[in-house]
Symmetry: C2
Subunit: 180 residues, 2 copies
DNA sequence: TTTTCCATGTAACTCGTTACATGATTTC
DNA sequence: GAAATCATGTAACGAGTTACATGGAAAA
């Protein structure tokens, strides 16, 4: 449902054709969604059928025909409804990574540490990448901030868990392989 | 994919019939998944078709017939593969709540603060509920710990964002409605 | 002239959910 | 006798992805 909100929100800023819309999404909103192109086209047509956006064909210069979507009054209402609902809700998120943790003890101690080190590296890389984005103000800035905060917390937790695991293992005399 | 890991992981601890499995999931693993009953049955049969689990019919006392699933050697291999992959990966999570943030400025300042206060309350409730679980050791404890850490970070971020927003609004002389 | 960019779509598929259907058996 | 529990399923639907298909224009 948040994809509809995303598309309507963009169209609320101004009309656009599908290709531009997706391009914009990829460039600026990759932090909060990875909406695929076919999905965008499909959703836009659906929103059109439902009367939330209207479509007109345009051609500019020698470029291929474009379907320009603009939001209708009904669409604007719908957008605001979705937005209010989204903002007021604390959505429950499931982390697929938690499932692996549930079965940690099915692997030998050394291997679990190794694997979690790999996870840690991935997490650190993702965090570094987000932190490297030059500071933005406004909505985008907020989203990046939030994701940084969550990634940091995740990393901190992983580190503490790894430290404790390593401590237990050394107490038990198990060999642990780890990268610096 | 993490659902297969979940089911195989449980079956790796011992054979079980679908109903018990789902019951167990609901009671103990609600933190990391909300796998629905039909999905569990469907997946179990699929795993059976693929040769990762075997099925036998059993009846005990006067209870209805049960399909008892047990993991096969191939299933055990598959389980370990999925587990290793899961542990070594830092999955990227998209928060639907981020999309709303992207369009914050499409609502009047007072209303955004109000809505985000509602979100905050939901977040705090979820956190309180998780924190109220008596301390568990082992895998479950880790998962709960992690989720608590992430919820706390999310809450802390929201609070700081709200504080800043309120400060800006008061500078601009806008009326802000907020609950204690 | 070959590759990349612009622009749109379709078809087949996977995955998961909701809602519905069944039937016996304890428990109240 | 009614309600809850145990136990399994199916059918229909919706959402989203992948892979495939097209065709002109600009750039290399």
């Amino acid at each position: 449902m948040y994809r509809r909100l995303l598309l309507l929100g963009l169209l609320a800023q101004g009309e656009m054709h599908g290709y531009r819309l997706h391009e914009f999404l990829e460039r600026w909103l990759a932090v909060c969604s990875d909406l695929k192109r076919p999905t965008a086209y499909f959703l836009l047509d659906k929103l059109a059928q439902e009367g939330y956006v209207s479509v007109s064909i345009a051609r500019e210069g020698n470029y291929p025909e474009r379907k320009v979507y603009s939001i209708t009054p009904a669409g604007r209402d719908y957008f605001l409804t979705l937005l209010r609902e989204n903002l007021a809700t604390a959505e429950r998120v499931y982390y697929p990574g938690d499932v692996g943790l549930a079965f940690l003890h099915d692997l030998p101690a050394a291997e679990r540490l190794e694997l979690l080190q790999v996870r840690r590296a991935g997490l650190a890389a993702a965090l570094a990448q987000l932190e490297s984005v030059p500071h933005r103000e406004g909505a985008l800035g907020l989203i990046i901030e939030r994701n940084v905060a969550l990634l940091r917390a995740d990393l901190a937790w992983l580190d503490s868990a790894l430290a404790r695991a390593a401590a237990v293992d050394s107490l038990m005399g198990e060999r642990t392989t780890s990268e610096p």
